[in-house]
Amino acid sequence: MEEVVQTVERLQQSFEDLSVRGLRSCGVDQLQVLTALHEELDRIGAAHLAGRLEDLIEKIRSDDRDSARALMRAQASLRVFERLLTLEQVESEMKQLHDLLAQSDDEDL
């Protein structure tokens, strides 16, 4: 899980960099980072997000004006992916907490 969270954080930082510096100034190094993240997303099975990122990479490479829309869509997908992951993870921790509290209540009786 820690590895997936790190991938999410790195992708988020890349998107923030692109928003601040501008898509037209995206260089070879930054494209390499995005490509590596795309491969990582593919590997962990985040197919929808990987597809959105692939679209963004292609549009940046071809200097397409629609790269801005592609960035917004990829960012929205990343947000949903992060929320799904977070809510799933904390749900299991909350279940654990609820069970522990119920157990200590039983012991108190």
């Binding site: 601040v20 501008g22 917004m72 929320r83 809510l87 993870q89 749900e91 909350m94 279940k95 907490l97």
Partner: protein, 373 residues
């Protein structure tokens, strides 16, 4: 708000122009953003608010504030905040434009959602905790976490959680502690610091709004008044241990979406029998976090950077040596797969000790200076 309630002739081109301006900004980047792009964003924010699209207006406002911070080379510019709110603005804008084009009232209403306002005659309240947010050269904000104490004409249930927000702008040369603003008299004949007196608070002729997240807010109007009642002694009623079951049910029934904020599912909680460990470095957005363990589950006790977190950091540091830590009231939210806790108060024998607020004496001349400000 329904489609028939807006001026469609004005709204359609506004949304089109706004999404184009955001896309142009993303193509060029902030350094070379043209004046016309900045101007379009600022005008759109005002126009969206004027047309009653408060959700879009508020989101754009934050993005514009960050853009201004970047332009002025202010060190508190946040890439994360800018990027998040720009994306949120684009999504709302595109969503509204599509809903408008398709005549989809339900979707338009969802995206332009504004809270309903309920007038309340009289409410008796207490304050359990206070958070502080300080953005240098911009504003300081305090959120007071309240509980309704007694039945009222508006049928707001006893025990209802309410938030009252107090926000004051701060100029770059304002060098006074944020707590000074709590001593300023308000139109409703009270000082915000009164909320922290440990006494009952009586709000008259106020209003309550319930947000999409379920958070209920107290709105003080021009005609509202605040008076203080007796000393409140029954704190134990509000410091019994928290049951995570309700939070768990909320988690299970919430469908995540791209417009969700990290604090969307925020919970007010009370921990008893907790343990605290030495702080750890935990990313660039916070000073550090204290691992707070409750029944073998670890929460990140976040301490904000800068003056925001100084008081909280001191209090948490002192609690490292406490043999039996007192009950702690705080806000729990879910961020990057972790349980994140914002501690607000601890409860000793005399009611709450507000962990984020300095109890240092405020020099009256400082308050006078603020009154001139």
């Amino acid at each position: 708000m329904k489609i028939s309630q807006v001026d469609q002739q004005k709204l359609a081109p506004l949304l089109e122009e706004l999404s184009k301006a955001i896309e142009e900004l993303l193509l060029t980047g902030l350094t070379t953003a043209s004046d016309s792009t900045r101007q379009t964003l600022n005008v759109s924010f005002q126009e969206a608010s004027r047309l009653g699209l408060l959700r879009l207006g508020n989101t754009l406002r934050v993005a514009c504030e960050e853009l201004t911070r970047y332009t002025k080379n202010q060190e508190d510019f946040s890439r994360q905040r800018f990027s998040f709110f720009l994306n949120r603005s684009w999504l709302i804008c595109r969503g509204l434009a599509i809903a408008l084009k398709e005549g989809n009232d339900a979707e338009f209403e969802r995206l332009s959602w504004t809270p309903s306002v309920t007038p309340v005659g009289q409410l008796e309240l207490i304050c359990l905790g206070v958070s502080k947010k300080l953005v240098p050269s911009a504003f300081c904000a305090f959120d007071f976490r309240l509980r309704v104490l007694s039945p009222n004409a508006a049928n707001i249930p006893v025990g209802q959680k309410l938030v009252w927000s107090y926000i004051k702008p701060m100029k770059a040369d304002t060098l006074v502690p944020a707590e000074s603003f709590l001593h300023l008299s308000q139109k409703q004949k009270f000082k915000p610091i009164d909320f922290m007196s440990g006494r009952k608070i009586v709000a008259t002729d106020a209003a309550v709004t319930v947000e999409k997240s379920g958070t209920a807010r107290l709105n003080l109007l021009e005609k509202s008044t605040i008076t203080l009642g007796d000393k409140f002694v029954d704190w134990a009623n509000y410091t019994s241990s928290w049951d995570p079951l309700v939070a768990l049910h909320r988690l299970q029934s919430h469908p995540p979406g791209p417009l969700d904020l990290d604090i969307e599912m925020q919970e007010e909680i009370v921990l008893q029998g907790w343990k605290i460990d030495l702080p750890v470095e935990d990313g660039k957005d916070v000073k550090h976090t204290y691992p707070i363990t409750y029944k073998n589950v670890v929460f990140r006790g976040v301490v904000p950077k800068g003056a925001d977190g100084a008081e909280l950091d001191d209090t948490l540091h002192k609690l490292l040596t406490a043999k039996i830590p007192p009950p702690m009231f705080g806000l729990l939210h879910y961020e990057r797969c972790r349980l994140t806790l914002q501690p607000l108060s601890i409860f000793g024998g005399n009611g709450p000790e507000y962990m984020n607020i300095s109890d240092k004496h405020i020099d009256p001349t400082v308050i006078l200076k603020l009154l001139k400000f």
